[in-house]
C-alpha cells in the first residue's frame, strides 16, 4: 500500500544509536528490527542516528540491521558519551527534520537522554515499552506496564511529535546481519558552538557487572514473597546447586533483603530467557512477568491457583512452594546418575 505524504520526513522513524557497549547490548539492533516492521505501517523510512568519533562501523552495522538511512555526527568533541551534548544535538536534529517517531533503548544512558530530549521537544515519552504498534490512525501505540505493574497500558501521544518511547534490551529480536542491505549514510556537520558541558567526566572505566549468569542461564529459579521467610528462601539456593541453575527474585523479596539487588528479575533488574524457569511463590506483577516471558518453559508453584504467574506457566503446581522445592531437590538428587 502506497502512502501519500507531502512531507516525507514526517513519516520517518528514528532510532538512537547506542553503541558504547556494543557487544553486550544489542538494543539498538533490536529496536531497528521493530522499527522496520512499524515502517510498513507508516510508510516512512527507518533512520538511525550516531553521535561520536570514529563511528562509521556502527553506521554500516545499523544499515545491515535494517536502517534505510543513518545520520552521523562524527567529531572529536563527541568522542565521550555525553547525555547533555547528545541530547542537545538530538533535539536540534529532531526539531529540524521532524521525525514521526523517536525510539531509544532503555539502557541507563537511554533512560537519561530520552526524558531530557522529550522535555526539550515538548513531547511525551513512554518508558520501557514491551511492544510497539501502529494503529489505524497511523499513531504509534506504546504498550507498557502501568498502574503499579499489574496491568498493561496502551499509550498514545495524540498531538505532540515525535512520538517517543524507550524499549528495554531484549524486548525485540534483532534481524540477521545483512551485508547486502542498502542504506544511505548522511554525515552532518557538528555545530561550532556546542553548549558548555556542565557535567565533567573525571574517570570512566569499562567494568562489566558481575553475575551476568542469570541472564544467560539455562535454568533459572525465581522466588517471591510466597517463600515465606529469608530462611526458607535460602532453600532455592540448594535447588540451584543441584540443578546448576541461577537464583532470581522479585522486587518485594529484594526489598526485604532476602537476596541482593543483583538478583532482581524484572523491569528494573534482569531480563531472563532460560530454557526452564522455576517460579516459587510469585504472584506475578507485570514488572516481573514482563522479564520472564522469554523463558521457554515455566513451572510455577503457588498456593494460589489464580496468581498471574500460575496462569502464564506451562505447568502450574498448586501447593506450598517450600515443600515442592524440597521435593524437587530430593527427586533430582535421586535421579542424577553417578
Amino acid at each position: 500500500m502506497e502512502k501519500q505524504n507531502t512531507q516525507e520526513t514526517l513519516r520517518d522513524i528514528w532510532v538512537l544509536g547506542d553503541y558504547r557497549n556494543y557487544f553486550q547490548s544489542r538494543v539498538t539492533l533490536q529496536i531497528l528490527a521493530r522499527a522496520r516492521a512499524l515502517a510498513k505501517g507508516t510508510g516512512g523510512r527507518v533512520c538511525a542516528l550516531v553521535f561520536g568519533h570514529g563511528v562509521d562501523e556502527y553506521a554500516r552495522e545499523y544499515i545491515a540491521h535494517g536502517a534505510d538511512l543513518v545520520y552521523v555526527m562524527d567529531d572529536p568533541r563527541l568522542a565521550d558519551y555525553s547525555v547533555q551534548t547528545y541530547s542537545h544535538l538530538l533535539t536540534c536534529l529532531a526539531a529540524d527534520h521532524q521525525p514521526e517517531i523517536l525510539l531509544i533503548g532503555a539502557t541507563r544512558f537511554g533512560q537519561e537522554i530520552a526524558p531530557r530530549t522529550a522535555k526539550a521537544l515538548k513531547t511525551g515519552l513512554t518508558a520501557d515499552c514491551i511492544d510497539l504498534e501502529i494503529d489505524d490512525k497511523d499513531r504509534l501505540v506504546q504498550i507498557a506496564p502501568s498502574f503499579g505493574g499489574n496491568l498493561i497500558a496502551k499509550i498514545i501521544t495524540p498531538a505532540a511529535r515525535p512520538q517517543m518511547a524507550t524499549v528495554r534490551p531484549g524486548t525485540f529480536q534483532e534481524r540477521p546481519h545483512d551485508d547486502l542491505a542498502k542504506g544511505q549514510i548522511i554525515r552532518l556537520e557538528v555545530p561550532e558552538d556546542l553548549p558548555e558541558e556542565r557535567v565533567r567526566c573525571i574517570r570512566s572505566a569499562y567494568k562489566p557487572a558481575k553475575a551476568q549468569g542469570i541472564e544467560k542461564a539455562d535454568i533459572v529459579i525465581t522466588g517471591g514473597r510466597g517463600m515465606g521467610s529469608k530462611r526458607k528462601f535460602k532453600k532455592l539456593f540448594d535447588l540451584a546447586r543441584v540443578m546448576n541453575a541461577e537464583v532470581g527474585a522479585t522486587r518485594p523479596v529484594v526489598y526485604a533483603d532476602w537476596i541482593s539487588h543483583d538478583a532482581l528479575v524484572g523491569q528494573a533488574g534482569k531480563h531472563i530467557r532460560p530454557k526452564v524457569l522455576f517460579s516459587f511463590g510469585i504472584s506475578g506483577a507485570i514488572q516481573h512477568t514482563a522479564a520472564v516471558t522469554d523463558a521457554d518453559f515455566i513451572v510455577a508453584v503457588n498456593k494460589n491457583p489464580n496468581a498471574t504467574m500460575m496462569k502464564m506457566a506451562d505447568v502450574a503446581i498448586v501447593a506450598d512452594a517450600n515443600q515442592v522445592c524440597s521435593g524437587i531437590i530430593r527427586a533430582i538428587k535421586e535421579k542424577i546418575r553417578d
Binding site: R108, A114, P115, R116, A118, K119, K122, T123, L125, T126, A127, D128, P145, S146, F147, G148, G149, L151, I152, K154, I155, I156, T157, A160, R198, R200, I202, S204, Y206, K207, P208, A209, D218, I219, M243, N244, A245, H261, Q267, K275, V276, T289, T293, F297, V299, M312, A313, D314, V315, A316, I317, V318, A319, D320, G327, I328, A331, E334, K335, R337
Partner: protein
C-alpha cells in the same frame, strides 16, 4: 529532595504502597542520601525539604520523611494535578522550586519509583530547572560547590563532577535507608507547620491548567496480561506433584540441565 508520587488517574486509586501511606522505597533512598550529605562535614545549616506531588493523603508520607530526617515537607496537591504524566509532573515540581525554593542547591530523586518505574521525572525536572543532572548515583561527595558522583551505568564505572545547583537521581540499593527512630516520629509531629500543602493556584499555575488534559501522552486502554500456554495444573501432596512433574516433563528439565536423569 523530591519524591515522585504519582497516582492512578484512570481509577482514582493509588498504588498499594502509597495507599498504605508508605514512602516509595526509591524516593526513600534519595532522602537517605540527602540525610547523609547533610550529616557530612561542612554541611552546617543544610535544610532538607521533602517534596511530593500527590493526593491529600500523601501528607502522611511527608511526616514519615520528617521522621527520617527531613526538616520540612511540602505536598503539592490539587485535583488539576491528577493524571499528570512525567512531563507535567516535572513541570509542577519545578514550579514549586522556582517559586518557593529558588535557592535550592541540590535536588535528589529516586531513580525509579515503584509505581511506574519510568525514571523520567528526575531528568525532566533538571531540564525544567535548567540545571545539570547526573543519574544513577551510587556515591555522592560534596566539596564546596562541587559535587562528585560515582555511578555504574551500562557496564561503565564512572566518576562525574558538576557544580551546584544540580540534580542527582540515586541508584537503587546504593543508599539503603536507616530505620526511623520512634523519637524521630514523635518529633515529626512536635513542630507545627513542618508540612506545607500547596495547590495549583499557590504555585501560580494557569487557571486552565489540567494535568490530565495537558499531558502529552494519553492512556487509551488498560488490560491484564494474558498468555496462551498449555497451563497444565498439578495439585496434591508435594511428593505426588513432584513425581508427576518429572514423569511428564523430566526430559525438558534434564535437557536444560544438560544431564541425564533416571526415569525411575
Amino acid at each position: 529532595m523530591v519524591s515522585e508520587l504519582p497516582w492512578n488517574s484512570k481509577t482514582g486509586t493509588l498504588k498499594r504502597e502509597l495507599a498504605e501511606g508508605m514512602m516509595d522505597p526509591s524516593s526513600r533512598q534519595a532522602l537517605e542520601a540527602a540525610v547523609r550529605l547533610a550529616g557530612s562535614a561542612g554541611s552546617d545549616g543544610v535544610t532538607i525539604t521533602a517534596l511530593s506531588m500527590g493526593p491529600p493523603m500523601a501528607e502522611e508520607v511527608l511526616y514519615q520523611a520528617l521522621s527520617l530526617g527531613a526538616d520540612r515537607g511540602v505536598l503539592l496537591t490539587d485535583r488539576r494535578m491528577a493524571g499528570a504524566d512525567t512531563y507535567l509532573t516535572s513541570f509542577v515540581l519545578a514550579a514549586y522550586i522556582r517559586k518557593y525554593a529558588p535557592d535550592t542547591d541540590l535536588v535528589l530523586c529516586g531513580s525509579q519509583t515503584s509505581d511506574s518505574e519510568t525514571a523520567q521525572v528526575g531528568p525532566q525536572l533538571a531540564c525544567e530547572l535548567d540545571i545539570p543532572a547526573i543519574g544513577w548515583a551510587s556515591d555522592i561527595r560534596l566539596s564546596g560547590r562541587t559535587v562528585t558522583v560515582c555511578r555504574h551505568v551500562d557496564d561503565f564505572m564512572e566518576t562525574l563532577e558538576m557544580d551546584l545547583p544540580g540534580l542527582i537521581t540515586v541508584d537503587q540499593g546504593a543508599f539503603s535507608p536507616a530505620y526511623a527512630t520512634l523519637g524521630g516520629v514523635q518529633e515529626a509531629f512536635d513542630t507545627t507547620d513542618a508540612v506545607r500543602i500547596l495547590d495549583a493556584a499557590a504555585l501560580g499555575l494557569d487557571d486552565g491548567f489540567n494535568a490530565l488534559k495537558d499531558s502529552p501522552t494519553r492512556i487509551i486502554d488498560v488490560y491484564s496480561p494474558t498468555t496462551e500456554k498449555e497451563n497444565r495444573i498439578l495439585k496434591g501432596a508435594a511428593k505426588t506433584v513432584v513425581d508427576q512433574l518429572f514423569k511428564d516433563y523430566g526430559k525438558v528439565i534434564s535437557s536444560a540441565m544438560g544431564k541425564d536423569l533416571k526415569t525411575k
